[in-house]
Symmetry: D2
Amino acid sequence: MAKKINVGMVGAAFMGKAHSVGYRDVAFAFPDVKCVPVMKEIAAITQTEAEAARAVFGWERASEGYEKVVTAKDIHLVDICTGNNLHKEIAVAAAENGKHVFCEKPMAMSVAECKEMIKAVEKAGVVHMINFNYRRVPAVELAKQMIDKGAIGTPYHWRAVYLQDWIMDPNFPLVWRLKKELAGSGAHGDLNAHIIDLARYLLGEFESVCGLMKTFIKKRPELAQTTGGLGAKASDKMGDVTVDDATLFLAKFQNGAIGTFEATRFAGGNRNGNRFEINGSNGSIRFNLERLNELEYYNAKDKAGQQGWKTILVTDAVHPYMRGWWPAGHIIGWQHTFVHQIYLLMNGIAAKKSPAPNFYDGLKCQAVLEAVEKSVETETWVKVQE
Amino acid sequence: MAKKINVGMVGAAFMGKAHSVGYRDVAFAFPDVKCVPVMKEIAAITQTEAEAARAVFGWERASEGYEKVVTAKDIHLVDICTGNNLHKEIAVAAAENGKHVFCEKPMAMSVAECKEMIKAVEKAGVVHMINFNYRRVPAVELAKQMIDKGAIGTPYHWRAVYLQDWIMDPNFPLVWRLKKELAGSGAHGDLNAHIIDLARYLLGEFESVCGLMKTFIKKRPELAQTTGGLGAKASDKMGDVTVDDATLFLAKFQNGAIGTFEATRFAGGNRNGNRFEINGSNGSIRFNLERLNELEYYNAKDKAGQQGWKTILVTDAVHPYMRGWWPAGHIIGWQHTFVHQIYLLMNGIAAKKSPAPNFYDGLKCQAVLEAVEKSVETETWVKVQE
Amino acid sequence: MAKKINVGMVGAAFMGKAHSVGYRDVAFAFPDVKCVPVMKEIAAITQTEAEAARAVFGWERASEGYEKVVTAKDIHLVDICTGNNLHKEIAVAAAENGKHVFCEKPMAMSVAECKEMIKAVEKAGVVHMINFNYRRVPAVELAKQMIDKGAIGTPYHWRAVYLQDWIMDPNFPLVWRLKKELAGSGAHGDLNAHIIDLARYLLGEFESVCGLMKTFIKKRPELAQTTGGLGAKASDKMGDVTVDDATLFLAKFQNGAIGTFEATRFAGGNRNGNRFEINGSNGSIRFNLERLNELEYYNAKDKAGQQGWKTILVTDAVHPYMRGWWPAGHIIGWQHTFVHQIYLLMNGIAAKKSPAPNFYDGLKCQAVLEAVEKSVETETWVKVQE
Amino acid sequence: MAKKINVGMVGAAFMGKAHSVGYRDVAFAFPDVKCVPVMKEIAAITQTEAEAARAVFGWERASEGYEKVVTAKDIHLVDICTGNNLHKEIAVAAAENGKHVFCEKPMAMSVAECKEMIKAVEKAGVVHMINFNYRRVPAVELAKQMIDKGAIGTPYHWRAVYLQDWIMDPNFPLVWRLKKELAGSGAHGDLNAHIIDLARYLLGEFESVCGLMKTFIKKRPELAQTTGGLGAKASDKMGDVTVDDATLFLAKFQNGAIGTFEATRFAGGNRNGNRFEINGSNGSIRFNLERLNELEYYNAKDKAGQQGWKTILVTDAVHPYMRGWWPAGHIIGWQHTFVHQIYLLMNGIAAKKSPAPNFYDGLKCQAVLEAVEKSVETETWVKVQE
């Protein structure tokens, strides 16, 4: 019988809801999971908020602030879904209390914070993981498997964008994601973090970067109220946007490949356009999060006259994670990536081994984010260093 | 506080799992739901099977055969996910015991059976519903809303296919879906039932039909064992396929529109290709279940030079059901249709009103299915009559 | 040095222009062509019309009526681009005068006319060809080559539509294509003729058919004036539409495959949607004329987990006819099919052999068209017989 | 009656063939063209080569070297389709002899050469034009018209790639396009030149750039023989690749927009992937040369719930240039852009006005190309200056 792992979650907004799905469904989809999570306690800024989330998301207890969760004796795992500025503080506290830590991306506000977090989990000997959930899209895992088996050969090009459009209205208010003190950065830490992690996962480590940041709308109404998901209502007062609306950069990889990255919240018509293409000597791969059940593959070894991009509907039983779900062609959604992530996390806890992407991956991603920021300041290429 | 509705489910295979999602997630996604289901008891052919499903799907009790479920005092709603040949028997028994009934499609083996079922639920005064879950795809609901507001004008054409390929291997065994005595028909009742219902929902009632049925592989190995989802293992013995592999038909609608329908399990490369296109005097609409988050719309009233098919990513908060899920661009999967269906069912029970598609819709669909079968036998056009 | 073939064309409208491209460009794209056409004379209903076309399309002489062309001593080949009602008369006259004959599709108004035409060309011993130009799309030729090599195995399904929308406006006038006495039929002979020919080319001969015809708009303004292409201006007077707006039919093929066909001019948003899909035991093929440079192929033999539809951009030098044009990825257009057709015709004349699709193919297509019409009248299945 | 313009072309390879289409077809498609070209003389490196091209492409005379063409009394317009290293020399000579000049892109090897060319044509008072033919794709012209009317509002993002894969085989030989002394640069001048021009056309002028260049395959076999199109045969001897295989850059525009550019010949599966997306405050536009008959448009002003990308099939009679061709849905190909370009050139000559893109545009593009090269050398941002 699988061991029970009591989970305490901090954060009850959009990400809290998404993480909850992971815990709710992991044993439903994967009865072979080696630890079974118990949704013990959810914490939020206020007790009211926590209680509301508890009732809807399916947690047993609710509490205010993160302190109770990180110290509760019966909690084994702390899940951090707060604003980025609290990740370090909560993760360190959780580790110091001997809890395993699952942290939403980006890992923290700076490389320095990441290092503190690593020190804490190493000292405590707990399992740690960062929620770069897009590694867990079956199509992305299939890409990884194929690349590892040589499907693209020597990589030449990485080409990724993460395009959104949810703040294009100049009257959309200053939510925490638009404030540097709470979010660290804007599209950069939010969206580039994802595609940097995917590039590391699929292609390898960065050598150097050169970037460009832009804030198109410099003043916005202050926030009156959040309204669920990424929604929000504006107040009458105006305030400064202190993060980037868009960050673009070029990259050289250690293996000789080169890449482009673009994160923006000003690409109208692209609701959630996390897209990448990789070109190598033997083939190419393309992915688009808005059609996450599909992977496109070009095999340069196909016979002449029959070469082309193949659209693989990644829903067959043989595809990564799909045995847990439905017959072929019955597609899954974005939320399923959280179930897959928690599956690996639970198995990691059973094995006492931090599954990738763990805090070391979080740090490496942060180092790239920071190098890009430095390149923007200095208007030149910057070597990526941890 | 929402009333609790105790559910008893009969059937623990692929469809049992899918229906379970509906009950598990309805209050998670829609806290405003007017009745909250309690997953009380699941029944299967054997106690072992039922128990296994209970543990994984999340039901409280397990039982063998359908009798306990339909008679249990604490059960309010019976959910029927068995082979088609048992629908009538269970539904009538459930109604006679005063239970609401939720029945998987197709409703039954014949129009006659459907009528018995209707008689039973009418007499009992219980709520009834048929699980034509594709009405509950947000893109389909959006299509319905748009059509009702005149987006396509006078309808001229309906063009639907439901293409699958899961039994193309001649060595795939004789599962119940390939046996007439258990399934009633093959691709026809399984797949055409869906697109007939969608045609009725979006376009209107049928006048007459003319069809063609075909069994490409006439002998197959008998079934050794099912293996989850639609999977199965073959035995050494051969047996007869007694249902259609494919059924095609032409249709005239009462409103003057004309249509084509095609259901097949022999369309290689189409894992679950439920697709339709409707053309009317003002515009056209296209849908493809394999990309169920998208709806394509052509507006003939767009200004000259800017006409074209628009791909609407149906994930905005304003789209049907999407307020229950994630921010725009974070797609949902096939399983979500069950949550939406159960949402309507629970609200129907609260209102003591059978929500569409109910048993009357099930009967109307069955009448079309039968008319097609008759047209195949007689090689001529057949009027659709209940 | 390639022999010169003097061409006389009858018809100076849309099709006359398109055929002219074939003669203009065949030696430009294919310097190895075995006969080189000389654009000697073009004929139209009036001398003015013929003269205007001569100047723009690039012909040497212009004449009124078809008589001069079919009798001119220096003309070797007569190209017929008139309304369908004149095909037989001109073809027979041309053959009697010893001219080779290239005739636009559909071949004639009836099977009986086709037979007269065949008698005439057989007696005269001239080369004959029907312009089913879609056989000459490189992607279609590639499909043919692949099918012949077993790419799809045993064929199960043919699924074709030819969707247009150019007469949906009820005020669009009664052009010749909407009058039975000039066109023979509407969408049926115009569009179904094409997809019937493609089915024969790619899949094989028909056994029986069952169809449905519909005229949505029964009265329209009489024609005031044509305005180029398919354009036209309406007069004040109303008249009867005497042809079908849409014709749908089911088909059984001699090899056991089954199929659906739909031709309509009322499918809004589909400007020229000639699309087909073929499913067989080893694979499937899809084509869409609006993206005629692409062919989609599903190979059921691809290894598990990497199956999917491959989009072949049919512009590589190894692809049919593409050596005559541009580097890979530099797409060709609809007009190029006429150049390819004329290439085969010229080589056929050099070899004194009528290249397919010739008059025998035209007859076979006409037999299917007529069988469908008969099935509509009799409301039952009709065997296809010549 | 339209004036005749005698054309002398220098260069008889792939581009010579493509330009020839422009002259062959301009009056066929556009009888209203104000000057009609006469294909008087074609020149190549050898008389044999010129003679072969003459016969196939349809020119009257053939000559060796460019001197005869630029001095011939009866020639009014010189068309330059040679390697880039000869553009300046021939253009200056042609201008000095009073000929109008039509020059293939990129304009020359350097900004300095461009300036010499401008001086020459200004002094001579002749009409001049650069063949950035992608401005003449109907979908691109439609984009231009829509942008000019406010369809996208304030531009935020430009995102363009030009992806090819024709030299990925390491054994593909050192054709002139891979030698710096003949081509100036590799993918940069060949492909980035196109997308830089499109960015200028659609978005506006550049402020500064920062780039990255890469040569993946540094040694290749020397060229034995070209084989038509972009094809070539390798010799046994190896030589150095002296140009870039790929060049990527970031850009800031004068209007505040930001952009990414990528040109590569190492993107497997992308035969001719010239693609761009523009995002602005009111909408977005996407284009893909491999589907050049289509334009995608997202209108942010569409009503909530019906927003999405619309695919406009740019083949209606109201679309730019399409009145010259076929009925809606009958697509055109890559070669048609040359006909449209020549149409503007002929009308420009009639009006004695150099149509855009003219030599001033060629210079501006060259200035961006050079700024990128300088940024690569200096590893920093470089301001674009003429």
